[in-house]
Every structure is written in structure tokens, then in C-alpha cells.
């Protein structure tokens, strides 16, 4: 009813105080919630009641500085099981938005997409495909793209048929204290700069944490990414991505994978039980025509990490012989051999190389051998990696 009252008033009026709009679950939730999202004024808060909101279409928010707050990510559930249209559950296209304390279940496409939405906070939000890992699930759980200043804290995503937490073509990003489970990729930082990925639990995905740069995109030149203090454990789910996706090529049991990026530091993570490889540093393997694109990894620094029990069942040609050759498990760090100054490694970590000689070669050209790397040299500008501290204030 407050919505209808607001309608009758001037659409451009600026309120003196930020208002709170409460939306309860129940009949007409789709219309009532979407109206609240449209009629909110900058600074307002939309409070979602406890319960299950049955939704049959995508929701969208296009008003700056709005907070959408539920009563908890186990108690306020936006249920998209019956969704008929739209490419995501919730789409955010405005700046300064805070999303917190609610869940999204079974969206047909992506869970929450924020495009061109600067200064966005995702806090204690859950996105779940409840049927487990299925190729018919939507692609991305939490999906900021073309955003500057992104804080993702305490979220949970499972079942994404591409990446659970996928940050694309963005900058100044923090992903922390989050759980990514049973997705194809747990956390993926793609074509993005100045990112901090810390203190997450990434488990039962096909691949754990991926840092990629891809060609032919509006925003390229990914780099300055710090991956630290994460638990990257037992990522052993068979790849269930539709074959056309870039992550469809990720091998089951990849812990941390860095591809074609500039200045990435991986340190103080616990990386265990990933059957193909603990840490993998590779060039982009496919043909490309984009003159702006550098397909090689540069300045990837693998610092001290607790890595064990990885590389026991690698999905690599001749895997069994390789495992036997290395005495039961592959060394923690795998490099494809491409790129000058590609990689430095803490001396305590063992490594091996495919010894490829040029970009685009496949596994048939590999000449696997133990590798000795240059000693670890930190590659990241820590002052600029991660979201600006101001965003933390919105976690309170």
C-alpha cells in the first residue's frame, strides 16, 4: 500500500529521510517486491520478511544506494523454481547497493547479476541450486560484471553450472569469508584487476579458485590479484558445465588455476585433496585474434602454501604414468612452461612443467618434467588489491 501511495506522489520528489519498505512473503510477492524495488528512493532500505517468496520472473533494482535486507540467508528465501523469464533472479544496475541476509534458490539463469553497479556489497547472501551439481542449473551464482568496488563477504553458493562467485571485467574487488561448494568453478576472477580473494572455503567444486584473462572482451588486462588464506579442499566434482563454456575445459580436481594474468600472488592457502593439481599456472590455450591480448601468465608468485594430497588422480593424458613417475602424487605446482617471467615459487613447494614451447600447443606436445622455479617474489600491489575499506561500514 505504501507503494500505491508513493505512486500518486511526484516521482521525482526527494525524501528528507531514507525510508524503510517492508515486503512480506505470500500472495503477490512478485508484484509487491518488484514495485518496492522500483519505487525505492536513493538511500532507502527494503526489508524482506522471513519465509519463502514464490517468484515467477526476474527481479531488478535500478535505484542508487538501496539496501535489500532479509532476515537471514536461511530464513528469507527468494524461490525462483517457477521462474518463467529473465536471465537472472535479481539484476542490479545502480550504484551503492547493499544486498544482505537473504537467499536465492533455483534461478533459471544467473543468481544475482550486478552490471555496471559500482560500490556494491554482497553480504551473507546465499545462492543455491537445490538439486546439486547439474548441467541444467544456471550459470553464475553471484555475478558482478563491469563494476568498480565490489565487496563479497560471507556469501554461500552451490550448484552453479559455471562459477559460484564470478567477478568479471571489474576492479577493486574483495571476495572473503565465503563458501563455494559443488559448482564447476568455485570462485572465478576474470578480466578483472585489483582483487583480493581471502579466507574462503572452496570445496567439492570441479575447480576451486580460477584467475583468468580472456581475449575479445570490452575489458581486458586482468591482474594484480592476491589469493590468500583460503581453504581449497577436495575439489573433486566431475565437470558438469555445458561444453561451450571456457570452464568446461577445467579438469576435475583443480585447486587454484591462474591463466594468462599479470601479477598474481597465491599465499598461505591450505590446498589439499585436489586430484588433478594443487596450483596450476598456464597460458590461454586456444587460438585468438585480439591484438590487445597477452595469452601468457606474467609474474605469478606462489608463496608459502600448505599443499598436500593433490595430483593423485590427474585428468591429464598419461596421468597414471605421471603419478607413478612422481612417486604417487604430482607436485603441488604445475606450469605449462609458457611465458617469460611467468612464475616464481616458494622453495618449499615442489613443481613440475609440461614444457610446452608455444601458445596453443596441446597435451600431446607436453614433455613432463620436474621443474625448478625462480624463488618467490611477491607480485601484488597490496595497497590497491581489494575493495576500498569504506565498503566495510555497510557490513555492520
Amino acid at each position: 500500500m505504501t507503494c500505491l501511495a508513493a505512486l500518486a506522489l511526484s516521482a521525482a520528489a526527494s525524501p528528507l529521510y531514507a525510508a524503510t519498505h517492508e515486503v512480506a512473503a505470500g500472495d503477490g510477492a512478485q508484484t509487491r517486491l518488484q514495485e518496492a524495488l522500483i519505487l525505492a528512493e536513493p538511500g532507502d532500505e527494503i526489508v524482506l520478511g522471513a519465509g519463502r517468496f514464490a517468484l515467477d520472473d526476474g527481479l531488478s533494482l535500478d535505484v542508487d544506494r538501496v539496501t535489500v535486507r532479509g532476515s537471514g540467508m536461511d530464513t528469507t528465501v527468494l524461490d525462483f523454481t517457477a521462474q518463467k523469464g529473465a536471465g537472472e533472479g535479481l539484476l542490479v544496475t545502480s550504484d551503492g547497493v547493499t544486498l544482505r541476509d537473504f537467499a536465492i534458490e533455483n534461478p533459471k539463469g544467473d543468481g544475482i547479476k550486478s552490471k555496471g553497479a559500482d560500490d556494491i556489497v554482497y553480504h551473507r547472501v546465499r545462492v543455491t541450486w537445490t538439486g546439486g551439481p547439474l548441467s541444467t542449473n544456471g550459470a553464475y551464482g553471484i555475478y558482478p560484471v563491469e563494476c568498480t568496488n565490489v565487496l563479497i563477504d560471507g556469501v554461500q553458493v552451490s550448484g552453479a553450472s559455471d562459477a559460484g562467485i564470478y567477478v568479471g571485467q571489474s576492479r577493486r574487488i574483495t571476495v572473503r569469508n565465503s563458501l563455494a561448494e559443488a559448482n564447476v568453478a568455485g570462485i572465478e576472477i576474470e578480466n578483472s584487476r585489483d582483487a583480493l580473494v581471502e579466507a574462503n572455503l572452496v570445496t567439492r567444486n570441479t575447480g576451486g579458485i580460477l584467475v583468468f584473462d580472456l581475449p575479445s572482451l570490452p575489458v581486458m588486462g586482468g591482474g594484480n590479484v592476491l589469493v590468500r588464506d583460503n581453504l581449497v579442499v577436495d575439489n573433486d566434482t566431475p565437470n558438469f558445465a555445458p561444453p561451450g563454456n571456457i570452464v568446461a575445459g577445467v579438469r576435475r580436481g583443480t585447486g587454484v588455476m591462474v591463466m594468462a594474468n599479470d601479477a598474481v600472488t597465491v599465499e598461505h592457502n591450505t590446498i589439499t585433496g585436489n586430484p588433478t593439481s594443487g596450483i596450476m599456472v598456464v597460458a590461454y590455450p586456444l587460438a585468438f585474434e585480439d591484438a590487445r591480448y597477452n595469452p601468457y601468465p606474467r609474474k605469478v608468485a606462489i608463496g608459502p602454501n600448505r599443499a598436500s594430497g593433490n595430483g593423485t588422480q590427474p585428468q591429464i593424458g598419461g596421468g597414471e604414468q605421471l603419478v607413478a613417475m612422481f612417486g604417487g602424487a604430482l607436485p603441488a605446482v604445475m606450469w605449462d612452461g609458457l611465458g617469460e617471467g611467468a612464475i616464481t615459487v616458494d622453495p618449499a613447494l615442489a613443481g613440475w612443467t609440461l614444457a610446452l614451447t608455444k601458445q596453443g600447443q596441446g597435451p600431446d606436445d607436453a614433455r613432463p618434467a620436474p621443474a625448478r622455479f625462480a624463488a618467490y617474489a611477491d607480485a601484488v600491489d597490496r595497497a590497491t588489491a581489494g575493495a576500498p575499506a569504506e565498503l566495510d561500514a555497510r557490513l555492520k
Binding site: 518488484q34 561444453p243 561451450g244 586456444l286
Partner: protein, 333 residues
């Protein structure tokens, strides 16, 4: 399509006749340019007879050479430029409509031989930019009411399919009409309007001059006679390029389907998907020359499944004719 063209002509004649009548109602510039969101469509005064879709004075019907597909809905389009103002020609692209202008589009389906108006969308050019509002028609067909959260309406399409037609919400308007963070018109590009209409618009003094256009988008109902690539590229420009272009909703895909784009990669030719997710199906490239069945573009056009279907909005049925046009183009590449 031919029927709607004839209808458009009839409306043009009616509008011209009425423009000379003294008691013809005129749109309310105060409402169009104000800062309210009127609850009813009638508040704007765009129509002398709304149920009949007979426009008021200075409200000019128009049609597009190739229209956007909306589940086969008939679409009645009108442009309004306020008295004392004039649009400006801006090359082959969108007409530059002054503040105070409005674009009005009514969606209708014919059921049991009778036309049923479903919704009327208005785009208003206000001092601080364009605003898009959706109005939903009542069962009596006497009034349309603001439906900012959108709606679903059961209809039977001309192809005989029973669907829940989707009226977009106010934000969804922006998903197609958004460019660089602002709302903009997308339909009335000079290249997609007939030369005759542009000349009429100019002689009525509503635009400074008829824009020069090197290559018009082909008339959709004459697509069998037009070059295959012009038909398909026109279709993609009209149906896809408002999102798939720099600065718009799907800019992050790197796909740019505008009529004027010439880079094969930007058009999707041998371009890998970025964030298509399961929308890519089992396919590797946007467009594989010679092979529509291997192309993500046609795969997504041919799907109705959320997360796969393209376009994401405004589609409950597959546009078989449009899909056929794009398949022919890909086959010939």
C-alpha cells in the same frame, strides 16, 4: 504485417484529417513533461479514441521497416513532438526528438476476429531524460493503467500458441532502452523508417529535414526479395543490438550486432562465448559460417528456456521467421 502496414496508412490519413479539425484533442504537455507517473494512459491525451487507437493532434503514427518481434503482437506506434518544437535528423540512426516528445507503442493481439489491446508503453522525453512507463489495458478496453511491476496476460498468438504474454516492469524497460546509464528510444532510427514517412514528418515541420540514409533496413514483409545479409543484419540490429552493443545491457559479452558493425568477430563470427553459461549449449562459437546448427546465436534464438533464451525479455514464443532469416545468413557466410 501487410495488414498492419495498411492500418498504419489508414491511421496516418485519419491523423491528417483530424489535424485540421478544431475540436481534436491534443496531448497534455504538462503531463508529458511533468515529473509524475500518471496512473492512467488517458491522462496523457495521446488518443482521440484510445480503444480505436485513433491518435490526437500532432501524434503521428509510424511503422518500422523491420519491427522487433513480440510474440507476434500487432504493434501500433506513434510519435509526438510538442508544438513549437522540432526533431533533428541525426544521420541514419535515431531521430533526435526534443524534450517534450513522446513515443507511444500499443501491443495488441487479434482473438476471435477482434483486436484486443494488451498494453501501451510510453517513452517520455522529460527535461532530465527519457522515462519509460508500461500501461496495462483493462478487459473492457476502455482504459490502460500504470503497471510498473509488469504483468503476465494470457493470450493466443497469431501462430495459435497459448502463452502468458509478459508485460515488462519499469526496470525491464531500461534493460532494452538503457545506453550509458540513460534511457533512450531504440525503434525510430532513420534507416528503419520509410523514406515516405520521413518526408511526411519533415513536411509537417516535425523534423528539421528528412535524414539521408544510404541503406535502408529492408521491409520485413518483402524479405524474400531482399538480400539475405541485409534481412538478417536488419533483424539482428532491431531485435538484438539495443543490448548487444557497447554501453548497453549486454556490452560485457563483446558481441556487437549493430547494423553498422563490420568486424566479423564483434558480430559473433568464430567468437567464443564469455558468460553465456549453459546458454552456449554444447556449442563453441557465436556464429560458425555455413553452420547455423553449430552457432550459439541461433541456438539461443530457438530456445524458450530461462537462462538460455535470447532475447531474455519480451519473448514467450520463438520467432520462426526471424530465426529462419538469421539461419539463411549464417548458411551463406
Amino acid at each position: 504485417m501487410i495488414r498492419s502496414a495498411i492500418l498504419g496508412l489508414a491511421l496516418a490519413a485519419a491523423a491528417a484529417a483530424m489535424a485540421t479539425a478544431r475540436d481534436t484533442p491534443a496531448p497534455s504537455d504538462a503531463v508529458i513533461q511533468g515529473d509524475s507517473m500518471p496512473r492512467t494512459l488517458s491522462a496523457f491525451g495521446f488518443f482521440a479514441d484510445a480503444a480505436e487507437q485513433l491518435p490526437s493532434e500532432r501524434v503521428m503514427p509510424y511503422r518500422l521497416n523491420t519491427p522487433l518481434y513480440s510474440d507476434g503482437a500487432d504493434k501500433l506506434r506513434f510519435a509526438y513532438v510538442p508544438f513549437g518544437q522540432q526533431a533533428k535528423a541525426r544521420g541514419e540512426g535515431l531521430l533526435d526528438l526534443p524534450v517534450g516528445s513522446a513515443l507511444i507503442k500499443t501491443f495488441a493481439f487479434t482473438e476471435n476476429g477482434e483486436r484486443r489491446l494488451i498494453e501501451t508503453r510510453v517513452l517520455l522525453h522529460r527535461a532530465d531524460g527519457w522515462i519509460a512507463l508500461p500501461y496495462l489495458w483493462n478487459a473492457e478496453q476502455t482504459e490502460a493503467t500504470l503497471a510498473i511491476a509488469g504483468a503476465r496476460v494470457p493470450v493466443v498468438t497469431p501462430a495459435g500458441e497459448s502463452i502468458e504474454y509478459r508485460v515488462p516492469n519499469k526496470n525491464q524497460c531500461k534493460e532494452c532502452h538503457g545506453l550509458e546509464g540513460k534511457v533512450v528510444p531504440i525503434g525510430p532510427k532513420a534507416r528503419n523508417l520509410s523514406r515516405g514517412w520521413l518526408d511526411d514528418f519533415a513536411s509537417a515541420g516535425l523534423i528539421d529535414k528528412a535524414p539521408e540514409v544510404a541503406a535502408l533496413v529492408p521491409l520485413w514483409e518483402e524479405r524474400a526479395k531482399a538480400p539475405v545479409d541485409a534481412v538478417a543484419r536488419g533483424y539482428l540490429d532491431v531485435n538484438c543490438a539495443h543490448c548487444h552493443r557497447p554501453g548497453a545491457t549486454a556490452s560485457n559479452s563483446g558481441l556487437d550486432l549493430r547494423w553498422e558493425q563490420t568486424d566479423p568477430k564483434a558480430l559473433g563470427i568464430m567468437k567464443r562465448p564469455v558468460a553465456a553459461g549453459r546458454g552456449a549449449g554444447d556449442l563453441l562459437f557465436g556464429v560458425v559460417p555455413g553452420h547455423p546448427e553449430q552457432s550459439i546465436l541461433t541456438y539461443r534464438m530457438g530456445s524458450l528456456e530461462g537462462g538460455v533464451a535470447m532475447p531474455e525479455l519480451g519473448k514467450s514464443t520463438i520467432d520462426k521467421e526471424g530465426l529462419g532469416a538469421v539461419e539463411r545468413w549464417i548458411r551463406g557466410l
